[in-house]
Symmetry: C2
Subunit: 345 residues, 2 copies
DNA sequence: ACCGAAAATGTAAGCGCTTGCATTTTGTAT
DNA sequence: ATACAAAATGCAAGCGCTTACATTTTCGGT
């Protein structure tokens, strides 16, 4: 008894060709370049395709054509609305262009990121989008060797003429800090994501420092706590910061999630936000409008970055277009968590 | 002048074989079944691999081996913490097993979902996870023909002996509703996601109805508004519901996002939650703990589903294990948005 | 009707890998 | 030493598609 008797093979291009009484080349052309084929042939072939319920084998196609029509994205985490949103937009564009997305998350771990990148390349990604600039030079070397187009997202500047689509993290944070300073804040503390191998986080801190410097304050004295990405971590960091003396009148946070944690912690400590202490975020995710008080934060064009990244990647691969550097606008969204400090002293 | 002079070809298995003075078969075995090869050979081959900086070509491998080691997930949307979380867990397991994840989102559109499923199969996904049972029978037929293992997630029951990993949406919603009824609620309204081709949403409504019936109330009279998935939609739906007379004392929502919208709307209408009206959610995402009042909701084991889905898929593909149906526990998380109604009349 | 260019189609050589089978090497028991 | 099974390796035939090049068909102009 043949145990796998029902494992009938799938129809191949050959089968279609035989059935439609044309060569495999013609079938291939009908599928890939319909306009290179007579209307009659096209109809006949398509009919056969339908009749046999044929689906092309992408591996074979990729092997023969030497491109996979697949694009990768390696992001720090999917559990974060901002990246998820960007991804969703990224994939929409790809699908609209008949391409497929490969995703991997690195959990903010450079080693995992490297593995994932190599894996995507091995799987034949035609192009790849990465978040931020910070990574070992050998990774970039590897990518160049393989001649795989790369887009750096989430930052408006990149090195070595690489493509990027993002915004100026320094400027955005600086603008927010300046606004706070103009409201009278002088003692500003910062809760940041870990800045090692995270240029976005570093830039945001730098932006705050720059604003302090602009105002003639001691930027280096700014209390800074680095922590992981979660509400709980934001809470803990806030507690650490408020243990200092004198306490800051404003705690800036490197992202909204940390800020929400900070607000929670403040409220648990019986502090009024923004009465006793102001808190700001960065990203403008949904959470920012839900938390009470609603978060004053920096709006970041997540979807737009995802969309543009896909378009740029497709252009570079399909039209051999030149790398571009796109710097998008951000703006401060004023809500309720930032106000003038109560004690101006 | 050769314009692509710098397009040096990547090393292939052949190159490694020649360099290491073995056959391609041996290199292949060294890479895939190291224990079928002498220690000495293995070392020599691996050394050569490193020296040439060789990476296997997955398309070729997939074509020859007739499996891609790739697993797909088609989810309604990535912009939703619950699916994102599940995905993250799904991918972690895959990566730990040397496999890759393909993701696609359908935007809750059955047609897009179908296209995405077919696309994944064409791309050679070795297995696939789908959310919920509702879809055209021909899709299931297609999948069976192709003999691709499928896992239905987000629901604890499936038809035709298909594998699933999830929970009982009816029972979970019923339990929550019963709790509310025991608090004294009699006039209960429901805001649901669209129930067409969404069995999870339908089941949750059914659960609420079942509870009403248990309590001897008229389940069919329960006001029901169906809407899309967003905070704004939740707000609008809440307004619609509260325009009725008599107003409900409890508005149950099919998910946390809608519930947050409902709370927002209530507050904008000057209604106290839960004083004037109770509101419940479903999912227990982060948002639920942030919104004020914090949401009483049903906790759903998102990560666990993702993890188990991956494990089951791998087992079915690699070990030919039998389909399984896994029904996970859920539980009501009591926070502040549900309380006894003020007017018991 | 005939010619030549352009359009359509066919031929067949791979793409880089896996794997069944054949062959060689190794290890063990005599 | 010798015989033999088991382990390691090699040989070579594909996997299903694309595409350069060769061949045939079509069609406008005469």
């Amino acid at each position: 008894m043949d145990t796998k008797s029902y494992n009938r093979e799938l129809p191949t291009l050959q089968d279609v060709a035989r059935e439609a009484r044309v060569s495999t080349a013609t079938v291939s052309r009908t599928l890939n370049f319909p306009n290179q084929v007579t209307e009659a042939t096209r109809l006949r072939v398509m009919e056969t395709v339908r009749a046999l319920n044929y689906t092309p084998n992408f591996s074979a196609r990729a092997l023969a054509a030497r491109r996979t029509n697949t694009y990768g994205a390696v992001i720090p985490t999917m559990e974060n609305a901002i990246f998820a949103r960007g991804l969703e937009a990224f994939q929409k564009v790809l699908v609209a262009n008949g391409a497929t997305m490969l995703v991997a998350s690195s959990s903010y771990d450079p080693q995992i990121e490297e593995d994932q990148i190599r894996n995507m390349i091995a799987r034949g990604a035609d192009g790849i989008v990465l978040i931020g600039n910070d990574r070992k030079p050998e990774i970039y070397r590897f990518l160049e060797e393989r001649q795989v187009p790369v887009i750096i997202a989430w930052t408006g500047s990149s090195l070595a003429g690489r493509s990027c689509v993002g915004f100026d993290n320094v400027a955005a944070a600086r603008q927010l800090a300046l606004k706070a300073i103009s409201l009278g804040h002088r003692r500003i503390a910062f809760i940041s994501a870990h800045t090692v191998s995270n240029d976005r986080a570093r830039d945001r801190v730098a932006g705050a420092r720059a604003a302090l410097r602009d105002a003639g304050l001691d930027a280096d004295a700014m209390p800074l706590v680095e922590t992981k990405y979660s509400i709980q971590c934001g809470q803990d960091a806030f507690a650490t910061i408020m243990a200092a003396d004198p306490k800051p009148t404003l705690v800036m946070c490197g992202n909204d999630v940390l800020a929400v944690g900070a607000i929670k912690a403040a409220q648990e400590m019986g502090l009024d936000v923004p009465g006793d202490v102001s808190i700001t975020g960065f990203d403008d995710i949904e959470l920012a409008t839900i938390v009470s008080p609603a978060l004053t934060t920096v709006h970041v064009p997540h979807r737009q970055m995802g969309r543009l990244a896909a378009e740029m990647l497709l252009a570079e691969v399909r039209d051999k277009s030149e790398p571009r550097q796109i710097n998008l606008e951000t703006h401060v969204v004023e809500r309720q968590s930032l106000a003038a400090p109560r004690d101006q002293g």
